[in-house]
Amino acid sequence: MATTTATVSISSSDLMPGSPLNISASSTLMKTGITTGMELMEMGNHSIATGTEFALSLAKGDVNGAHWLYIANTSTDSTYYIEWGYHDTMIGPLYSGDWMFVPWNNAVADDSEIEVEAKIGTNTFEYAIFKGGSWTLATAGA
């Protein structure tokens, strides 16, 4: 088994006067359950034009698999952004330089596909998927 450690820190010196914000959390990424480390990963980057989608789909039957997804919008134009979501349910925007890191589990059908859609501009983004056991990338593309 491999040991993959994810650490997030969130800080601000001016969010709350007199009380600097310093959040830190670290986690070893595990397969389903909490004792076996993840072994598989996939990393890549893509460019998508305004209005087009890029989909990452888990194969059906991989119910409740424990995976992790990192996405960062590497576009340099600050007006450009992409949105991420599950199937047709878009969750939030990633402007240039923004990143996200979430667990990815396909407990129900809609959760098995994560979409990235360019809303303004031709955006470039990078992604990494850390995979639990029997993982199959069913779709990667627009």
Binding site: I10, S27, N64, G92, P93, F101, V102
Partner: protein, 117 residues
């Protein structure tokens, strides 16, 4: 307006021959509501952690504080992920759906924070 600096690092030395070791950081402008790190006890019933009507575009931090119990994070009624014991998430949310949290069992604690852009 305040500045928020989130940083993510991912390190793995033994999955591939090319060691993974990277870090990404961002600078976010926060102009509206903030809930600094807080803690709530969950149950197996739904808890609306963030109501869409109360927020605009925001950044959300969640961490499962429990050692064994996982919890579901739902966006409205159609999409969700599951945070295992000790794990965390950080993501942007445009507040189109409520964020609803539920314990898989028992009464684990969830740490959360939200920063409205």
């Amino acid at each position: 307006m305040a500045t928020l600096t989130p940083t993510l690092s991912l390190v793995c030395t033994d999955a591939t021959s090319d060691e993974l070791n990277f870090s990404v950081t961002d600078t976010l402008n926060i102009a509206q509501k903030v809930i600094a790190p807080s803690k709530v006890k969950l149950s197996t019933g739904d808890l609306t952690l963030f109501a869409s009507s109360a927020y605009s575009r925001s950044y959300v931090y969640l961490k499962n504080m429990d050692d064994t119990i996982a919890m579901d994070v739902d966006f409205g009624s159609t999409a969700s992920f599951n945070i295992a014991a000790g794990e965390f998430a950080f993501f942007p949310w445009h507040a189109s759906q409520n964020i609803v949290v539920t314990a898989d069992s028992g009464t684990p604690y969830l740490e959360y924070a939200i920063f409205e852009a």
